[in-house]
């Protein structure tokens, strides 16, 4: 019986052993069913993993039904439509720098644009980001001429 003991086994045999004990084929390690080569060091490492983690831990997920249609991507696509912005003060022919970023300096879009090129920009941002910063700078004098924080 493996439970409660520490044994020196390769990930392959550990996983297979656990699989037989628990769920007869429904659980397995990544690609562990053939051709595994594990150094002695790894065997030692595996042996030292707390016994709780040697159990077929997939139960944590397997006990749960995920909602239909949930895509698991952790990202969202967001389109910024500049018709929603007050761009009346921008001058035709002038170059502006458009920067879309988050508070931590991650830059999603960076471009030199003219007034008539400001239409839509689509970015892909982590769900955990709550605010997008939209900044437009006048190249000629370096002034920030448009700023908007968008709550996602």
């Amino acid at each position: 019986m493996l439970i409660g003991k520490r044994v020196n086994v390769s990930p392959k045999w550990q996983c297979l052993g656990v699989t037989l004990l628990i769920s007869a084929g429904l659980v397995g390690c990544g690609g562990g069913s053939s051709g595994n080569t594990v150094a002695n060091e790894d065997k030692e490492i595996m042996a030292n993993i707390p016994i709780e983690e040697k159990k077929p831990t997939s139960r944590a997920v397997a006990d749960v039904q995920a909602p239909d249609g949930f895509n698991f991507s952790n990202y969202q696509t967001y389109t910024i439509d500049f018709t929603d912005f007050d761009t009346g003060t921008l001058e035709a022919g002038q170059n502006y720098i458009l920067k879309i970023s988050d508070f931590e300096g991650g830059v999603f879009h960076l471009a030199s644009v003219k007034h008539d090129q400001l239409e839509q920009v689509t970015v892909s941002v982590p769900l955990a980001i709550s605010t997008l910063l939209v900044q437009l700078f006048d190249v000629a004098d370096g002034e920030l001429v448009l700023f908007k924080g968008i709550t996602l």
Binding site: V27, G28, C29, G35, S58, R59
Partner: protein, 499 residues
Amino acid sequence: MRVITGFTLKRSYLVFSMMLASTSAMGEIASFRFVDKVSKDGIGVINLLTPDDASKTSNGALLEAFRNDNNGELAFAVDISEPSSGSETLRSHGVALESVRLLLTFPTEVVEFTVFSSATHSFLQKSGAQNAVLTPTLIGNSDTTRVSPNPASEMTGSSWDSVFRVAVDRPLTEVVGAELHIDFFDVDKQAGDPEEYYDFAGRDEIVALLSADDANYLDTLAPGRDEAPLVLDASGASLTTWTYLPSSSGYFIASYEDLFPLKGDYDFNDLVVAYQVALGSGSNDGVSKIRGSGYLIARGAAYDHDWYLRIGLPAWASGSGTTRFYESNSERLVAGFPASVTVRGDVNLLLAEHIADHFSDGESTYVNTFEAQTVQEGPRFEFSLDLDAPVPAEEVSAAPFDPFIYVHETGYEVHLADQAPVLAHSRNTLDGATTFRDTANFPFAMIVPDDFAPPLAAVDIGLAYPTFLDYVQSMGDVEQDWYLKGQSHRVKEIPFKQW
């Protein structure tokens, strides 16, 4: 021989005669580097009379020959040698120029020239300043494949990059001293890109004097420019606009379970890949370039995988490109790379092939998945595509695109949930294994931000990240930052620098 302009005929004849004398003794002028460099503090005082090769001589006559060859300018190259950091990579890195001053000592006077030009600019905020300004830039890469038509040129085999030119409106034959003072622009590194890209960071930069042929060659080659952020001309107009996915310095992390269609141990570390993509366009005319790069981060499997990135394009899209897959911690390409890519509608990019052969930890096929393992730097890959005609951005498939693995031992492809198999040689369609969710609706592949640390081998992601299931069961409404809340004893921290 180029015609000298800007002088009276009599003066031109005199200069022309002296130049011939100086060049006839040395043959055709050949580009050479100086012993002085721009130091790591971003300041360089380059003595133009001191070549790096001590066997060579530089003097006023030689400088005059170079000036005449370049139509009244002195053309200089900088070998930009910046460490890979943030959006700077071996393929593209840059610095910005605060000032360039050429101090020429003649027998009776010292003359200063401060007007210089470079082909590229960016909009940069100086450290401590409130506003950004249009600033000249120098961009390069780490290739050492420059070739000069002149066998005596030191450019051949070098990594000389961008060119800047200093206008000099008087003959230099009588010069007895010449110093080039270069100050790099001290950007606000906290501002993210583009400042982060154009910083200078701790390495000496070589400076060289160029013949017109070599200067024109480097202008045309434009090393690294395609991948640099916010490259502007002198008016501030964009040369190329890039949209970064997910961001200029961020990566999508794709994590896989490879026992598909069997449920695995759900540690989501059988293969872990970081990748980013940039869509390039000209003057608001759609996507004309697509490039990307990434790293293999962890591998907790014995099976062998290929990793693909499929990007959806309209059926009429066409173009060509290249993929490169490098050995771990090396500039050496894996056999079979670079590989050519032909674009005809959707493109399946094979970016890492037979990964088991190229990503291991000694004898172990498990890499960066055990707590006590020293973190190994994984192989990297990159690709670039040029489209024959611009594609409207809305017709390019949405990020994170379709990153998938092919498992050699099982013959199955493994995609994100709700994607479909695409490879003709896989078993998925034959076996009816075309849905990439298990019976409980969980996927076999997932995309997470690059803060994610893969669970240790055999540790279920639900245990490694206690709020993961709350996130799932709420359809993503709560615990959206679940991937930041890993239990330290159950995940493998792999610092960005060690990808």
